[in-house]
Amino acid sequence: MARNTSPARKWVVTVAAWTIGFLIFFPILWIIILSFKTEGDAIKSPLAVLSSGWTMESYHVVQERSNYFLHFMNSVIISLGSTVLALVIAIPAAWSMAFVPGKRTKDLLMWMLSTKMMPAVGVLVPLYLLFRDFGLLDSRIGLVGVLTLINLPIVVWMLYTYFKEIPGEILEAARMDGASLRNEILYVLTPMAVPGIASTMLLNIILAWNEAFWTLQLTTKNAAPLTQFIASYSSPEGLFYAKLSAASTMAIAPILILGWFSQKQLVRGLTFGAVK
């Protein structure tokens, strides 16, 4: 039964929600605004920035100077590739942990998560040497592998949590009807866990898209994704805020749009299992 709320209370809550939403979105909005200003206008006080003229100049410069499409395609391939690979490994792993847990499953899960606690830079040199010796430096395959491994603990954990919410009896019923393990996972478990898998996938794509340590350290030019594209416009000595904003807008736009269209799925997945 819905709770009774007074119109005034509803109004206050709505305003508060919009205000918080706006505050969170504001930095991105400001980047987008600055990207349409000249370098001179971009450093003015906020009010002067808003009242100054609009221009596409920064976008022209960025287009001229960088190969955006190459970086964009690298980002797409790396984030999708690592997500698909992670799901292929994590779905069976999460299945076994959720439905046929062993004595050490909990410890195993904790250990997996603990690998995320080590600072990435700690393994930079060993990994760089491995990449060098296997000829993987500046290759998309190498990055797909690394990002898969980096995000795998989170993917396994998320899927494990979703799978736990699915009654094991349904799977048992499928087994009694003669379903093989493959068919059980593919035709019974997966369709029921679609919201969970979808939100894990989306989150993983976003994490891989934004990953800015390994993608900068292990690439040079051929496999460099959008993170390097942004890094090439930042400078500690020289105000290139408008160009940097234009580059940032171009880099975040695809993932922002993806997030926008899939937000329903994302929210549904994240709250999946919250109500029993």
Binding site: G40, K44, Q217, A231, S235, E237
Partner: protein, 437 residues
């Protein structure tokens, strides 16, 4: 028919052979995002006309990202880059490790003796030139001529710190958001510590004595930090502990700073009417001193170096020689004007009457000549570097000490407290690293 087949076969072979003879060598150049480097990328046609067999691929990165990226690569011999842009901090360290190809065999017309001695000195290891300077900078005082006049003062060409304080007091007009002086406060070895280390030289301070013992417990460092804090707390902008080069540049361009002591490269930004509201009201002076024989200015250069182990050494050398040549300076002057020529590397540029007309040319040269990386402090020191100490540990030390001094500026610590912490921390780290026996 038979004949035409034969002709076609012959033509194909000829084409293949000529293709092999013209085989392109592609070199990868890692570089920073600064105006001079970006400009060069637009002028590459001149290089390709001279070297049609070499293709250059650029990897442009933010300074700190680039530093980490190329360090990993050069240390592991990753071979991802054929030419690296490195600073005067890395050059002697990497040179000593044998990570760089010596550049002693550059062509005669390169005229290596034309390189400014201060810059060349910092790039020479055991008598070998291990990197070629692309652009050099020092620091100097930039000030508002109108505010100085209004205050009834005249900036000397070589001011003292006492004068700077007097002028800062006279120019400050807080109700109208005009602050007498803007200086770096943001923590970092290349941020506030670049400024404070250089400033400390003019106060007779130094990072280490000849036995590598830290000197923060000595009077000259106390004088430096107290003077700096006093100056900034009374006449500096609010929130200065977050200000680096870009923040101060923005404040100066908006007319909120009376004086700003920072990199000479800023001169071209603050005098650019398209971006600066005070472009026609800027004067320049040497960095201040205290009459002890050293000025508070630093010395930095971005240099092109070739990592040892590159497979394309010849092509890389051809590129480095071209990019740092007199010919390249002339090319920039012709296409983009004298004010845009990369400064601070060659004496011949400063002898050129055309270049002497650039307003900040003379001051840049004098500032660079006033800094000696091999003799940075008043007393002898065991290290090379004016605003840094060219040892691998310095990045970590400088940033940690920078955080302590930045905290003192923010008001969460006192000058004495910050200095005591810096002394204790540096002593521990230098002992651990084996410098202090």
């Amino acid at each position: 028919m038979k004949l035409s087949h034969r002709a076609m076969f012959g033509a194909t072979v000829a084409l293949a052979l000529s293709g092999a003879a013209m085989a392109e060598t592609t070199i990868t150049v890692a570089t920073v995002n600064n105006g001079d480097m970006i400009r060069m990328q637009g002028l590459m046609d001149a290089f390709y006309a001279k070297h049609p067999d070499i293709k250059v691929d650029w990897v442009t990165l933010e300074e700190n990202v680039l530093r980490q990226r190329v360090t990993t690569d050069v240390a592991t011999k990753g071979g991802q880059f054929d030419v690296m842009t490195i600073g005067t901090y890395e050059a002697p360290i990497w040179g000593k490790q044998g990570w760089l190809v010596p550049l002693n065999d550059l062509p005669a017309d390169y005229d290596v003796d034309d390189l400014l001695p201060a810059i060349r000195g910092g790039l020479t290891v055991d008598g070998n030139l291990i990197a070629a300077p692309f652009y050099g900078e020092s620091s100097m005082v930039m000030y508002r001529t109108d505010l100085m006049e209004k205050a009834g003062l005249t900036m000397p060409e070589a001011p003292t710190w006492t004068f700077i304080k007097e002028a800062a007091a006279a120019m400050t007009d807080k109700p109208n958001e005009v602050y007498g002086i803007c200086l770096r406060g943001k923590a970092g070895w290349g941020e506030n510590m670049a400024f404070l280390s250089a400033m400390s030289n003019s106060f007779g301070a130094k990072w280490f004595d000849m036995d590598w013992k830290p000197q923060f417990d000595q009077k000259p460092w106390a004088d430096t930090l107290t003077f700096y804090l006093d100056l900034m707390n009374n006449y500096g902008p609010p929130g200065a502990s977050n200000n680096g080069f870009n923040e101060n540049l923005s404040l100066f361009q908006q007319g909120k700073c009376g004086m700003w002591i920072d990199a000479t490269v800023a001169a071209s930004f603050v005098t650019n009417a398209a971006e600066s509201t005070v472009a026609d009201k800027v004067g320049f002076a040497l960095a201040p001193d205290n009459g002890l024989g050293k000025r508070g200015n630093w010395l930095w250069a971005w240099n092109l170096a070739i990592p040892a182990g590159t497979q394309k050494e010849e092509a890389a050398k051809a590129f480095v020689a071209w990019a740092t040549s007199k010919e390249y300076l002339a090319l920039v002057a012709e296409k983009e004007g004298w004010a845009n020529v990369p400064p601070g590397t060659r004496q011949s540029l400063y002898d050129n009457p055309e270049y002497q007309k650039v307003p900040f040319a003379k001051m840049t040269l004098e500032s660079i000549n006033a800094a000696d990386p091999t003799l940075p402090a008043v007393d002898p020191v065991p290290y090379v570097g004016v605003q840094f100490v060219a040892i691998p540990e310095f990045q970590g030390l400088g940033t940690a000490v920078g955080q302590m001094f930045s905290a003192a500026l923010a008001g969460s610590d006192t000058a004495e407290g910050a200095l005591a912490k810096a002394q204790a921390f540096t002593t521990t780290e230098m002992t651990r690293a084996g410098y202090i026996k």
